[in-house]
Every structure is written in C-alpha cells, then in structure tokens.
Point group: C2
Chain length 256, copies 2
DNA sequence: TGGCCACATTGACCTGGGTCAACGGTGGGC
DNA sequence: GCCCACCGTTGACCCAGGTCAATGTGGCCA
C-alpha cells in the first residue's frame, strides 16, 4: 500500500468503523494489527516494556468519529484521554461573543489530554473522519501511578507542547500575516513529514476559516495571501492541500 | 511588617545579598528562616514529607540578581531550575530582526524550568532586584526520579502553564487592544493577590514596552489605552503600578 | 438533475492600531 | 547639582489587515 493516508481516509469515510481490525500506524507507512498500533500510537513505546505495552493496550478502546463531529467540549468534565490514530482534529476555544481561537490541530500520533486536568481546556472537533485510542482518564492515571518513567515521558510531551504554544505566541504577537501563513505551512509540513514522509505535499484538512482562527487572521486575508504565494510560485494550491515549491523562501519568512 | 513587598525591594536594592538569611516567603506575609522559605517557595510542600523537604533544601542555593540583569538566555544549555522568592522577571523570545515577544512574567513563588529540556526556550531578565532558589538541573532531576509524587506535581504545574499559554493565544489572536490591557491587569491582579492579598493595588514592575511586547501591542498603544482607562475612571495610574477602580468593567472586558 | 449550502476567492473600502515625531519627567552617575 | 539616558505620554498621519459585498464552485441530497 503506497499511500496509507489516502486509503485510511476512504475507509473511514466509507464506514467509520467502530472496532477496526486494521488501522494506520503513525510513523510507519504500513497498516498493522490494531493492538500493536495502539501501542505505537501512544508515542510512548520507548518508555515501556512489552508486558507493560500489553497492559496499556488492554485499557484502550478504539473510537471513530465522522467529519465535523465533536470529540469533547470546552469546560466539560474530561473523562478520557485520546491518542489519534488517523484523521485530523481541530482544538479551539470560544469567546462568549463567538470569536474563536484555534489553539492547535491534532494529527495521527498526537496525544490529547496531556494536562490530566478535571475539565477540558478547549473543544475538539474532527475535521475529517478520525479514529483514536481512548483511555479512561482514571484508569490511565492509575497506570501512570505505577509507571513513573511513563509519567516522565508524558511530562516531556507536555513540555514540548508548552514550547509550541510559546512559539505560537510569538507568531500571534509579533509576526505579519505573510509570515504567519509561511510559519503555518512549514510547521504543518514538518508534522506531516514525520507521519507520511512526503516533503512537498502538505494536506490541509482544515478550512481557511480554521487557519485564520489559528493564526489570528480573517478568512479573506488567509485566502488572499495563499493566492499571492501561489501567484509568486512559492506554493501550488491543490484540492485539500498545498504543494510547497519554494521551501527556502517560506522558511526564511517563518524563521523564529 | 505590614508590606513585605516594599521592604524586600528596598533590601535587595540596597545590597543584593548573595546569601540572605531572611527572605520573603510566598503566600505568606512574614519573613521566615531561609531553609523553610525555600521549601515553601517551591510550591511543592503539599507533595513532600518533612525529611524530603530537608533533602530538597540541601540541594538549593540562593541567588540574587539586580534589576536588568540576565538570569539565563534563550537557546543556551540550561544548567539550573529556579524558584523565584522575591522580585520579578521578564521571560521573552527574540526574533532575528529584534522583534520581541514576552511570553510571561515570573513573580515570587513561580517556578522556572518546568520543561526540564536541554536548552532554554526563552531568555529571562530580572525587572527588579530578584532573589531565587537555584537547583542544579541534574541534581533536581535525580531527586525527581526518586520522588514520583513530586514529578506528578511538576507535571500538573506544567499543565497549568500550558493552559495559561493557550489563554494568551486567545488574547493575542482574537482580542482588541483594550481587552488585552484589561485581561493583563486583571490577570496580574489575581497573581499579586495570591502573593500579598491586596485586591486593588497592582504593582507593575515592567515597562510599557514590556507590556506591549507581552500583549502584541506597541508602547504607544499601551500608554494611550491606560491613559484612557484612567480618564474613564476604570483605573488610577500610580508610580510603579495601577489601582483598579472599576474591577467589574475590567473583568467584563477581560472575560474569556 | 437541479437546488442548496458550505467553502473559497476577489474587489472596494474602512479603521484600529502602528509609525513617526516631539516633549516632559525623573532618577542614577559623576 | 547637573546631565543625560530612559521612560511615558501625546498628536498627526498612515497602512496592514479587517469588513462588507458579490461571485464562483464543488459536493451532497432530494
């Protein structure tokens, strides 16, 4: 199977299976048995022994949500933590008057619920049909209590998340619209590269509105600037994504 | 001693002692013996037994830096973690062209180095004469390895930090200049309240430029809007701070 | 197969906040 | 006690990006 991503999308779109036998394994280009997948999906394998992996796997259940469905909602009690195995998710906060700030996008391999807090800090909607491993927060927490090395790994992931949030603060506070778009495209490329290896084609499962709400811009500005970058041959706009032509230029615009 | 803050400032300004015998204990209005202080300053007391506290205290050394001095620098290897005991610190990232984004301000009781990463994610300058407990990162890390409950506390602090960073993303991405100023003042008031209990006087150890670089605004805009809020009787500008008059109005502007 | 709706694009115009410039206060150094 | 660098404030003007409006376009369902 040369393009796992495409096949997963179609498979999920076709049926949204609730208990898949096969599913995408992040950081790999092949489909594998689900039990193994869950484990690798956790991005925690390095920290666990085989028997611990199995133990953790027994705690997991597989869930699937269709495009535009809600995974969880801001301020609601958070009962679960998730590890995304396929698809894409929008994470956002709403202001009372309806203004929206997207705080991030989750892709296959990403972990939701690092904070282990009582209530969700943001809402999460699937952008495309999505599957994830779901753990009861309580069971997961108990498992962590018995595995300090796993907690350490979790803490390091949260730290990385914090670092990304601070980079985003720089983008939102001090960069021009064009620089924001470039930083977004380069950042997303780097994440997809770790998932599917492709260095040029960048899938954009989110709408222009989502990108705007992530970058602190309006839809119109996002659209205009993407068009301009395309006119200037820095990118090519293709259905559901972009193709990066002039990566050095984008990196120059994006550099922190 | 009715105002610990004032006296600490003066004491530090007078001499910047390198090994103080007495120092401010956060969440308390009195000066106490330094050993006890360090421990309480860690904000970790709830998680530790008395003998563990003593063990941790032995790892700590006390440092003092004068106003405008550097604690550590972005991208440099990070050798230490800190717990601020008195003073105030500006945490910021620089773009190559000199644009600056302040990612936060550290006040007494705050912990620097939650991420335990190899290199500093940002630079840190003292705004006022500042004292802190300093731990070798290595020793601290070893101590954590032996105390999983402490790691858990650290992780929960990092999660809280992440949540604050996401709130700041909303402020930078989706709020007007006036709302940003109000959110900043209310947020800072709440932090000082936990330190010195005062619900109205908000010390501002940072310059207007620092506030602007935190909120994604220019000095001029910060100055103009503070003047306007003062003209409209929402605040009073006093030396080194503001006094909040119309807290409900500010909270309405700031609400998330 | 046509109608609908959500998304994307584009143009014309407007404005919040940035830029530039001037000036006053003040506190630290000599 | 004087100087000067830094900070804060204010005014005049400008522009990047927002707002509003119109049009295009593709997918989906009846």
């Amino acid at each position: 199977m040369k393009s796992s991503l495409g096949s997963i999308r179609n498979e999920a779109a076709a049926g949204v299976p609730t208990a898949p036998v096969l599913t995408l394994c992040p950081n790999s280009n092949v489909t594998v048995d689900c039990a193994t997948c869950r484990v690798r999906a956790l991005s925690l394998c390095a920290a666990l022994e085989p028997d611990e992996l199995q133990e953790l796997d027994r705690l997991a259940s597989s869930i699937a949500v269709g495009a535009k469905e809600r995974l969880f909602e801001q301020d609601q009690p958070s009962a679960s933590v998730y590890n995304v195995t396929a698809g894409s998710i929008r994470l956002y906060k709403l202001l009372p008057d309806g203004r929206r700030q997207v705080v991030g996008f989750a892709l296959p391999g990403d972990f939701l619920g690092l904070s282990m807090s009582e209530r969700n800090a943001f809402s999460a909607d699937a952008l495309t049909p999505t599957t994830a491993c779901k753990f009861s927060r309580q069971e997961y927490s108990n498992f962590l209590d018995a595995k300090p090395h796993l907690l350490r790994r979790l803490h390091s992931m949260a730290s990385h998340e914090l670092s990304l949030a601070q980079d985003q603060m720089v983008i939102l506070g001090r960069r021009t619209a064009e620089e924001r778009i470039a930083a977004f495209l380069i950042g997303l490329r780097n994440r997809w590269m770790r998932i599917n290896g492709n260095q040029v084609h960048v899938p954009l499962p989110m709408t222009r509105q989502d990108i705007g709400d992530f970058l602190g811009l309006t839809v119109e500005t996002v659209s205009r600037l993407m068009t301009r970058l395309a006119r200037e041959k820095a990118i090519v706009i293709v259905p559901d994504g972009v193709r990066l032509l002039d990566v050095p230029r984008l990196e120059r615009l994006a550099e922190i």
